[in-house]
C-alpha cells in the first residue's frame, strides 16, 4: 500500500514537469513546425491549411518554399552567421570574466560567499529591459561614458559606442554573466582543495596545477555556463535591437520582423525551426557532458 502510494507520488513528481514540457514546449513546437511548411496567404490565420478540400477530396498541402526562400535572400544567412558570432564572442567574454569571479567566490570564506553570490544575483531584482535601457544612457554620444572621457580630456570627440558590435557584447555579457558564474561556482565549490595541494606536492607550480587539475575538473561547469549564455544569446532580440547596429541585425530580430512587420508566418516559422536546429548540436553536447559528470560522480 505504502509502496503503491510512493510509486504514485513519484509518477506525480515526474509527471508535472513532463506535462508542462509537453503542453508548453512540444505542442507549440509542432504548431510552428507545421506552419513552416505552409505558404503565406491573406486570411486568418495568414497561412495555407495543412489539409485542403477540393471537390470533396482531401489533399495534404506541404510547401518547402519558406525554407528555400531563406537561402535565396542573403539577409537570412548573414543574420544567422552574425548571431552565431555575437553569441560566441559574448560567451567567451563571459567565460573569461566569470571564471575568475566564480573561482574567487568558491575560494572565499563561507560568510563572504553568501554575500558575493547575493551580489551576483542582485541585478535580477531590476527589470531586464530597464537595465538594457540604462546602457543606452551610458553608451550614447552624450552619455555618461563619453561625457566623463571628454571632461577628463582623454578624448576630444565623442566615441561612437552605441549601435556597435561592442555595445551588443557589453549588453549580452552584462546580462548573461550570472548564468555563467552560477554553474561554474556550483562546480568549483565542490573541488577538493587537497587535489591542488597534491599537485603542488608533486612539483606543479600553481599555474600548472590550475591548468591540469582545476580546469579539466571544471569542464562540466564551463560547458553548462557557456551553453546557458550561448543559447539565449543566439536568439537575443532586445539587446541588439536597443544597443546594436542597424545595418546588421541578429536572427531574433529577423524572426520578429517576419512575424510582425511582414506577417509572413511560414518564413518566420522556418527561421525559428532553423535556429532550433542550430542549437540542437550544443544542447546535445551539453547533455553528453552532464551525463558524463553524473557517471563520474558515482
Amino acid at each position: 500500500m505504502a509502496q503503491l502510494s510512493r510509486a504514485a507520488g513519484r509518477r506525480l513528481v515526474a509527471g508535472v514537469p513532463t506535462l508542462w514540457l509537453l503542453v508548453l514546449f512540444l505542442v507549440p513546437f509542432l504548431i510552428v513546425f507545421r506552419i513552416s511548411f505552409s505558404e503565406v496567404r491573406l486570411a486568418i490565420p495568414p497561412y495555407t491549411p495543412l489539409i485542403s478540400f477540393h471537390h470533396g477530396t482531401a489533399a495534404l498541402e506541404v510547401h518547402a518554399s519558406a525554407y528555400s526562400f531563406l537561402f535565396t535572400d542573403p539577409l537570412y544567412v548573414s543574420s544567422y552567421l552574425y548571431s552565431l558570432k555575437v553569441a560566441a564572442v559574448s560567451t567567451l567574454c563571459c567565460l573569461a570574466l566569470g571564471y575568475p569571479m566564480a573561482y574567487a567566490i568558491a575560494r572565499s570564506a563561507a560568510a563572504t560567499r553568501a554575500v558575493l553570490l547575493m551580489l551576483i544575483v542582485l541585478p535580477f531584482w531590476t527589470s531586464f529591459l530597464l537595465r538594457v535601457y540604462a546602457w543606452i544612457g551610458l553608451l550614447k554620444n552624450n552619455g555618461v561614458i563619453n561625457n566623463v572621457l571628454l571632461y577628463l580630456g582623454v578624448i576630444h570627440h565623442p566615441l561612437a559606442l552605441l549601435q556597435t558590435d561592442f555595445a551588443v557584447y557589453i549588453g549580452i555579457v552584462y546580462s548573461y554573466l550570472p548564468f555563467m558564474i552560477l554553474p561554474l561556482y556550483a562546480n568549483l565549490e565542490k573541488h577538493d582543495p587537497a587535489l591542488l595541494e597534491a599537485a603542488a606536492d608533486l612539483g606543479a607550480r600553481p599555474w600548472r596545477a590550475f591548468l591540469s587539475i582545476t580546469v579539466p575538473q571544471s569542464l562540466p561547469g564551463i560547458v553548462a555556463g557557456s551553453l546557458l549564455v550561448f543559447i539565449p544569446a543566439v536568439g537575443e532580440y532586445v539587446i541588439p535591437t536597443l544597443l546594436g547596429r542597424t545595418d546588421q541585425i541578429m536572427i531574433g530580430r529577423v524572426l520578429s520582423d517576419e512575424f510582425f512587420e511582414n506577417r509572413d508566418w511560414p518564413v518566420a516559422s522556418a527561421v525559428a525551426i532553423l535556429i532550433l536546429l542550430l542549437l540542437v548540436v550544443p544542447i546535445m553536447l551539453f547533455q553528453r557532458v552532464q551525463r558524463r559528470e553524473l557517471e563520474g560522480a558515482k
Binding site: 587537497a194 597534491a198 612539483g203
Partner: protein, 384 residues
C-alpha cells in the same frame, strides 16, 4: 635563518645515518590565538620510519603540513638534509606526501596520476613510462594502469597514492593516516607491505596517525604529541614500557594507574603508598623522587598475574605487590581475555591473560575472589 646552526646542521647531516636528516628546531605554528604546534624540536634520522602519534588537535597534522610546505611556521625552522626549508614552496621541496584522502586526480587514469609528478620534472616520455611501470609493479598495481580512481577499491587507491608519491624518489615521504581508510584485515597486510617497500627503497618516512597500533607496528621511533608539544620520543617499546608521563602511559595501550606517595626509598627501589590500591607498591627505581613526593604508579594489564591463592612471598619475605579482589567482568577477545577485578578500595583493575589452551573452561569466573600480583619491575613510577 641565521647561519651558524644551519652550517652546523649541514655538517652533522653529512656525518652519518644516525645524525638528524630532518631537523626541526623550536617549531611553532599559531592560528590566531590557537597554538597548534608549540615549540617542537625533533630530529628524524635518515631511512627511518618516524611516527607522529597523537589525538585529534594534538598538532601532528599541522607539523606534517609544515614539513610538506602547505603551512608556514610562525617560528622555528625545518632543515631537510641540511637545507633550510623556510623559503621553499611545496612544489620545490624534496618531500612528497600521501594524503589521508589519497587526493588522487579523479579525471586521470592510474598511470597519469603516477606520471604527473615526473611530468613536472620535464622527463622524457620513455623515462616517465619506464619509471611509472616500475613503481606500479612495486605496489602491485601494474595491471590497473588504465583504470580511473573511482574504479578502484580503497586498498588499490592507497597503493596508487603511495606509488604517486614514491615515484618522485623523495628524500622524505610524509604519510597522513595511511591506513585509516582501510578495513582491519587489509590494514595489517598493508602495514607489512609499507615496511617492505620502505626498506626496499630506503626512503625516510614520517607517518602521522592517531592509531597507536598502527604507530607501534610501522614506526621505528615514535613521537607522541599532546597539545602541540612532543610528550615523548622513543622506540615503540621505550614508549610502551617506560612512558615518561601519565599522558603517554594512558595514550599508548591500557594502563592501571594509582596516585601515591613515596614512603621509602633505597638505591634501587622506591616504595609507594597508594591509598586507592590499599597496599604498598615496591617498584624499581627509574626516576628521581624524594620521600613524600606525590607520584603515580602505572601497571600494564598484561603485567599483572591473577590467581586464586595469595602469591608465595618473595625471597626477601615481603608481601608487597599483591592485592586481593573480586572478578567483576570478563571479556573474551579470542586470543586473550580481559578481566576487570575490583579491589577493596572499590577501584577496578584491568588484567589481561592469554587464552593458551583451546576449548578449556576459563580459569576464572565472575564474582570469584582472586589475588592480583606483579613483579617489582612491572610498575612504572611517573612524576608528571
Amino acid at each position: 635563518m641565521n647561519a651558524l646552526p644551519q652550517s652546523n646542521a649541514t655538517g652533522t647531516a653529512a656525518a652519518g645515518t644516525d645524525s638528524a636528516y630532518v631537523r626541526i628546531t623550536n617549531l611553532t605554528k599559531r592560528f590566531g590565538d590557537f597554538v597548534a604546534v608549540d615549540n617542537v624540536s625533533l630530529d628524524i634520522r635518515r631511512g627511518e620510519i618516524f611516527c607522529l602519534l597523537g589525538g585529534s588537535g594534538s598538532g601532528k597534522t599541522t607539523l606534517l603540513r609544515m614539513l610538506a610546505g602547505f603551512e608556514s611556521p610562525s617560528a622555528g625552522s625545518i632543515l631537510i638534509d641540511g637545507f633550510d626549508m623556510s623559503a621553499i614552496p611545496p612544489y620545490e621541496r624534496p618531500v612528497n606526501m600521501m594524503f589521508q584522502s589519497y587526493a588522487l586526480f579523479p579525471h586521470m587514469s592510474v598511470e597519469k596520476n603516477v606520471a604527473f609528478g615526473l611530468e613536472q620534472e620535464g622527463l622524457s616520455r620513455d623515462a616517465i613510462r619506464r619509471q611509472v611501470g616500475e613503481i606500479l609493479d612495486i605496489v602491485k598495481m601494474g595491471a590497473y594502469g588504465a583504470r580511473k580512481p573511482h574504479q578502484l577499491s580503497g586498498g588499490q587507491r592507497q597503493r596508487v597514492a603511495l606509488a604517486r608519491a614514491l615515484v618522485k624518489r623523495p628524500k622524505l615521504l610524509l604519510l597522513d593516516e595511511p591506513l585509516a581508510a582501510l578495513d582491519k584485515k587489509l590494514r595489517e597486510h598493508t602495514q607489512f607491505e609499507l615496511l617492505n617497500i620502505q626498506q626496499r627503497l630506503g626512503v625516510t618516512f614520517v607517518v602521522v596517525t592517531h592509531d597507536q597500533e598502527e604507530a607501534m607496528t610501522l614506526g621505528q621511533r615514535l613521537g607522541v604529541m599532546n597539545h602541540g608539544r612532543i610528550a615523548q620520543v622513543g622506540t615503540p617499546s621505550d614508549i610502551y614500557e617506560s612512558p615518561a608521563t601519565r599522558f603517554v602511559a594512558d595514550f599508548i595501550g591500557s594502563v592501571n594507574m594509582f596516585e601515591g606517595k613515596v614512603s621509602d626509598e633505597g638505591t634501587d627501589f622506591v616504595r609507594i603508598t597508594c591509598g586507592e590500591l590499599g597496599c604498598e607498591v615496591r617498584a624499581e627505581r627509574t626516576v628521581t623522587c624524594a620521600r613524600g613526593a606525590t607520584v603515580w604508579t602505572a601497571i600494564r594489564p598484561e603485567k599483572i598475574t591473577i590467581g586464586r591463592q595469595p602469591p608465595a612471598t618473595d625471597p626477601a619475605g615481603t608481601e608487597e605487590n599483591a592485592v586481593p579482589g573480586t572478578v567483576r567482568e570478563i571479556a573474551y577477545m579470542g586470543d586473550m581475555s580481559i578481566y576487570l577485578v575490583q579491589i577493596e578500595s572499590g577501584k577496578l583493575l584491568r588484567v589481561t591473560l592469554p587464552n593458551t589452551t583451546r576449548g578449556a573452561d576459563r580459569p576464572l569466573s565472575r564474582e570469584e575472589r582472586v589475588w592480583l600480583s606483579w613483579h617489582g619491575s612491572s610498575p612504572v613510577v611517573l612524576t608528571e
